[in-house]
Symmetry: C2
Subunit: 529 residues, 2 copies
Amino acid sequence: MNGKKGSIRIDFHLPPKAVAPEVEKNADANNIIESLSPRKWIWDVWEFAKTDTTRVTFSLKVGLACLLVSLLILFRAPYEVFGTNIIWSILTVAVMFEYTVGATFNRGFNRALGSLLAGIFAIVVIQVAMSSGHIAEPYVIGISIFLVGAITSFMKLWPSLVPYEYGFRVILFTYCLIIVSGYRMGNPIRTAMNRLYSIAIGGFVAVLVNVFISPIWAGEQLHRELVNNVNSVADSLEECVKKYLSDDGSDHPEFSKTVMDDFPDEPAFRKCRATLNSAAKLDSLANSAKWEPPHGKFRQFFCPWAEYVKVGAVLRHCAYEVMALHGCLHSEIQAPYHLRCAFRSEILDATNQAAELLRSLSKDINNMKWSLQTSLLKHVHSSTERLQHSIDMHSYLLTSSHDQYDTSNKLQRKPSKTTSFNLKDLTDNLDEPETGKTETMQVESYHESMKKQQRRLHSWPSREVDDFEEEGKIVSDLVPRMRALESTAALSLATFTSLLIEFVARLDHLVEAVDKLAKMAKFKQEYTS
Amino acid sequence: MNGKKGSIRIDFHLPPKAVAPEVEKNADANNIIESLSPRKWIWDVWEFAKTDTTRVTFSLKVGLACLLVSLLILFRAPYEVFGTNIIWSILTVAVMFEYTVGATFNRGFNRALGSLLAGIFAIVVIQVAMSSGHIAEPYVIGISIFLVGAITSFMKLWPSLVPYEYGFRVILFTYCLIIVSGYRMGNPIRTAMNRLYSIAIGGFVAVLVNVFISPIWAGEQLHRELVNNVNSVADSLEECVKKYLSDDGSDHPEFSKTVMDDFPDEPAFRKCRATLNSAAKLDSLANSAKWEPPHGKFRQFFCPWAEYVKVGAVLRHCAYEVMALHGCLHSEIQAPYHLRCAFRSEILDATNQAAELLRSLSKDINNMKWSLQTSLLKHVHSSTERLQHSIDMHSYLLTSSHDQYDTSNKLQRKPSKTTSFNLKDLTDNLDEPETGKTETMQVESYHESMKKQQRRLHSWPSREVDDFEEEGKIVSDLVPRMRALESTAALSLATFTSLLIEFVARLDHLVEAVDKLAKMAKFKQEYTS
């Protein structure tokens, strides 16, 4: 199971080349030829091995373990003792050798306990069957096989027993093997013992090679995975906010193409999305790590691996906010560019502080040192509060109808140009004392951004019509698209900042979770702040 | 692998009963005794079996398959033909029998192809080894074992080969078994063939029982899983919005306790969270379903299972917005209750329409009928647009400083009571023509809600101090909490509605994805709307 952890998730967004090769363009054909060339292929393998050299180590270790256990048969002496049963040691190595030490121990435990239980049960049943007479014997055996099959299969579906699925499988086939070969070949106990010895030899070789030759610890992998996840959330937060503030709407891709897209220009976002799907991976690593003895940086018995999983879960709750921020960034309804610029410094400040806090957390986890970052956290809070105050003070900017009290319930929309113009004037007035730089930049690009804004606000219906014409179908037959109302656009900025503030609020919980982890895992305390 | 699909994820929020039993209260002790009582235990098992009867079917099928294959040995005739090799059929059944038909086929294919490749390679190597002389023979065999072990282990880490991990394991141990037993026991080809026959018998029995006795199809499971996921998103949207509109802040639990909580009073939210983590499950089901022949409702070859996974991915993107809405609901910064009531009918309308659309989608998928819900989608859009208009028109309500233009950049916060009062007046004015019911309700509970609001807004600092005192530590030593600014609270409503609107915008993509699925899976077209 854990052997898969070094692998990358295959994406289903790949173009279906295999399905319709005849429609492929020349460029694609060239791509295929190139991807089939042995040079490219060797290069890929080389790159794959270089990204994570533990993969190569693991492969060589499996080869070595198989070789060692084969020597038992290639030499004459052990073969003469155990006979053909020695084959079971090979099977054991092949089945038991997992990617990490913990997973190997876990599987070994499953196999050992499963074999033991099956052996005991088989011996009991054989005694019962033999004492029940020659005619009843096969019936007793048959019924017992049916029952063992049904009960182990049912038990392995039970939620809390799912991690021991392999153990139940072992019970089933070991039981069948012992009882059947006992019935047919006589002396089942001798058979069972011989087999047990060779399984033990196989297990011993597998564990020996796995633990003593450059071991791959699940605990370390879990540790590194969590650190990477924290970093990727920080990166993707920064990336998202940076894009939000720099995006003037001129090169906004079509929404429909981006909701499920891979966002090739946003590498951090993809890592953040991977973080959201990493729950199962963290769980399985923690499950393996439990079996590992103290090693490397982790010098205590019963290291609190479950806490790592909890920190991962809290981190995922932070990442949900980043996903929502990203949704805001790619939403059709967008706040005008200069309005975003008005709060630029506050948003950037809060983001940078939050990202810095995250990075310092990940660094602390990585070095297993812990200094409760009170000062850093206070910075984050104060910059976020500044953002809140700023939004609060200028919140009338966020309403397009701020200069009229329309209580007549009639839908009376003002032309967006006027609104934008008013907003612009106000923005300039407000920004003056704070950031002169922003203001001059705005004045320079004012006419340009105005034009872009106009184009943007009115571009979606025409784009929509284009879409309909492209597909050559009746308009009513297609999915009608959500209409974006430009007049509430300014409120989208409020959403963005609220989400950012909520993200910061969740950081408190992350800090708390890391604090708990630090205490339980006995990180080195540092009082720097 | 797929046997796990019927199981429920174990939650790590369980109280650590096993760790510190001595501090448990009497009530907990009673709980433990109760949970250990055989009656409770039998009841649990019964409930578990009743929730999904396919679990019982599966267990009985495994028992039956084991029994059938054991009969081969319990009777004399087959045993005399195959000898001790017949044991391999039992092993094959135990290893190959998976929960769903597709997974069994997949595993069978892996096993068959793996055995075949290993057999061919082993025979070639044996020829080479034999022709290389008596001294070199063990070296050739040893090196070949090392190479096969290393290469198969490396290949199974390769991303696109991960689903065939089991096949590589089979290659490894089959190769070792054939070559080693060939070296020691002579006549490797006869050994290999006999083993192949018994593996084939085992595989045949496993497939026969799995396919012809109440089969559990991965395709059907995938289908049902997707339908359930769509429903759970609809449920949790409704639940979340309902709670948002009914929550007057009086019984708001502490934020810190809820961010990672299980929300026992929000069953739909937990299902929605499960939906977010279902990516791996859908992937593995689709992977299994590929191997299944046409069956039941799925009458075409090459049913587009990958499209189900894609719909699931789009659905997850909708669910991210629900998570953000849920974050809003449990955020410390809350819009005043009567402000939420002001937009109550619009929010409820948009929500109900969206939920109805989702339910009709899930019903359509479930019945494999497809009528592009243009009218329903238009309803959703129009009600969402009404919400947008309403927010747009009354957006001055969302700013606490709507009656003053404060451009002096001084932080001048008005007491929240005055603000609320102003808002209240306005709200009443606005609501009058629309919903008399809401208005009277507001008037009735006005003084009460005012009091609650007050208590709420000022309750967090005292609560915070309580927390600090409780833990009996210096305040500065602890994680400082994010301060909630009540003055931007009203903007939180804008966030909530924006997220709701974004959710609706993403529904378009869901409808499109389902449309594509319907076309590719040849759903029955219906033109109702």
